[in-house]
Symmetry: C2
Subunit: 293 residues, 2 copies
C-alpha cells in the first residue's frame, strides 16, 4: 500500500511522470509532488536509480518545472529520477498567507518557521530532508525504483536558495547541489528579509542559518563542495540585488572552499527559458556526482 495517491500517470521521454499527493504530518496538510521515473528504473523487477530533487521558485507548483524546465529529457537519457516537491504547504487558513507572491503560500523559503502562526505548519526543511525521503524511498509502490543513498539537489531562484542551504546544512545528504539564479544571500535582500522576519522573527543571527553565503563562510578551509550555479546576466532580479550572486563567490574565496563553480550567462533572464537552456548541463552535473557518468 503506497503512502501516495497517484493523481496522474503521464508518459514522458520513454519514462513515466507521476503526479502525487500525500498527507503530511509535518506540514499538517496534503502535499503535492511530481516524480519522474526514467526508463532505466522501469525494468522488471524495478531498478533503483539515483534521484535529483528540484526545488521550485516563488509562485510555482511542482508542475511549472515539470512542464517547462526540460529535465525529463536528460534524466531519461542518463537514468535519474527527478523529484519535484511543492513550494510550501497549501490550503491553511493563515491570515495574509495568500496575499503576496513572495511570502506564505508558494514562498516557504524551504526552512522550518519558528514564529507563530507559520511555525505550526511551515516546516519545509523537515519535510524535505526527513519526512518526504523517508516516506518515498521506503514506499511500497515507488521505493523499489529509487536509490535513497544517491540523491542530488537543484533549484531555481528561491528553490536555488533552498537547494544550497539544504545542501550546506545537511552534509552528506546530497551528493551535489546546483542552482539556477539562486537567492544566495537572503539576509541582505528584500525577499529574504521579508521572509525571514515572518518565518524566523526579528533576530538576524537566526536568519544566517539559512543564508548560503553565510553558511559557506563558516566552512573549514579547503572543504570540498560540489556546487554549480548559473546566473543570467540579463536577469531583472539579479540586477535589482535580490540574488547577490557575487556574495557566494566572495564567501567561497574568503573561506577557501573548493568545488563551487559560478557561471554568468550573457543575456539570459530569470525565466524557464533560461533554466531549460542549461538544465541538461545541471542534470549531467548531478549524474556525474551520482556515479552515472
Amino acid at each position: 500500500m503506497s503512502s501516495f495517491e497517484t493523481k496522474a500517470t503521464i508518459r514522458s521521454f520513454g519514462g513515466k511522470l507521476f503526479k502525487l499527493t500525500h498527507p503530511s504530518p509535518t506540514t499538517t496538510t496534503p502535499m503535492a509532488l511530481n516524480l519522474y521515473l526514467p526508463p532505466a528504473a522501469l525494468t522488471t523487477p524495478p531498478s533503483r536509480v539515483p534521484v535529483l530533487i528540484y526545488l521550485s521558485g516563488l509562485t510555482c507548483t511542482p508542475d511549472n518545472c515539470t512542464e517547462k524546465g526540460f529535465f525529463q529529457s536528460p534524466a531519461s537519457r542518463l537514468g535519474l529520477a527527478v523529484l519535484y516537491p511543492d513550494t510550501s504547504p497549501r490550503g491553511l487558513d493563515i491570515p495574509g498567507s495568500k496575499d503576496a507572491y513572495d511570502f506564505g503560500e508558494a514562498a516557504s523559503f524551504y526552512l522550518d518557521a519558528t514564529v507563530p502562526p507559520y511555525s505550526a505548519a511551515y516546516k519545509m526543511e523537515t519535510y524535505l530532508t526527513s519526512e518526504l525521503p523517508s516516506l518515498l524511498f521506503s514506499d511500497a509502490e515507488f521505493g523499489p525504483y529509487l536509490d535513497g543513498d544517491r540523491v542530488s539537489i537543484t533549484g531555481h531562484s528561491m528553490g536555488g536558495h533552498g537547494a544550497l542551504t539544504l545542501y550546506l546544512r545537511h552534509p552528506g545528504m546530497y551528493q551535489s547541489c546546483s542552482a539556477f539564479a539562486p537567492i544566495v544571500n537572503p539576509t541582505e535582500c528584500a525577499w529574504g528579509v521579508k521572509a525571514f522576519r515572518g518565518y524566523l522573527g526579528k533576530e538576524r543571527e537566526a536568519w544566517k542559518e539559512h543564508d548560503a553565503a553565510e553558511l559557506v563562510r563558516r566552512l573549514e578551509r579547503g572543504k570540498e563542495l560540489r556546487v554549480l550555479v548559473d546566473q543570467g546576466k540579463g536577469d531583472q532580479f539579479y540586477k535589482e540585488g535580490q540574488l547577490r550572486t557575487e556574495e557566494l563567490e566572495f564567501a567561497v574565496a574568503v573561506a577557501g572552499v573548493k568545488g563551487v563553480e559560478v557561471r554568468y550567462q550573457e543575456g539570459y533572464d530569470h525565466s524557464y527559458f533560461f533554466m531549460a537552456t542549461f538544465s541538461e548541463e545541471h542534470v549531467e552535473f548531478a549524474a556525474k556526482a551520482l556515479g552515472l557518468l
Copy 2:
C-alpha cells in the same frame, strides 16, 4: 522600420526568442506570434536560415508550445528558425466566439471562413500562407535572418490539421509537414463538424477541402509527399474518435501516395509531455527536408 512590434526578447538556447505583434489587414485584428532565431542566424551580417512553422492546438496561444514543446533546443543545434503563429484572431466582438474551447477564439481551424460573421475576419489560411510570410520574410528587422524559400510546417492537434491541410492545399509552399496527434478527418469528428458548420456552412462538399484525409484521396497515384505523424495510443481524444488517425493511413493506401509515415506511440497522451518527447525528431525531420541534415 519593422512591421512587427517586439513585446519581448528572450535569450534561449544560445538564440533569441521574440514575442511579436502586428496589425493584420487579413484578420482585421492585431496578431501575436513568437519567433525563435537560432545562433546560426544571429551572425554579422545576418544569415538566412530555414523556417519551421508550428501551428498550435485548441485553446493555445503562441506561448504554450514556445514554453513546453521544446523545439528551441534542436532548432538551435540544427540552425532553424521556429515561427509560432496564434490560433485565431482575438478581441473581436463576435457573439459566442469566446464561449467554447473548440470554436471561435483560439479555435480557427486555420481556414478562411465563408459564413458571416466569421468570414469577415477568420481568414487564417490567407493570413498564414500569404500575409504573414510576405510581411515577415521581407521585414526590415527580421527578414534578413529568414530564408522564405525554405519553409516546413508542423502542428499539434487542431494545429496538426492545419499543418496537413495547408501543406496539401499549397503544393510547393512547404518542404515537409509533420504533425503531433492531428485531427486528420475533421469532416467526420465532432470537433470538425462543429467548426466547419460554423465557419463554412452546411454544405459538406466545402468541408472536404479542409480535411487532410479527403485531400490525400484526391492526389495522383505515386505522388511523393514528405509527412511524419506521431499519435499517442493513450490519447483520450484519439480514443474518442476526434483524431481518426487511421483514416489518413487508409487514404494514403487507397490513393497510392508515398512518403507519409504514421507512428503510434505506446502509452502517450495528447499533452505537451507527448509533444516534447518527440519534438526533436520532428525538427530533425524538417531539417532534412530543408537541406540542413
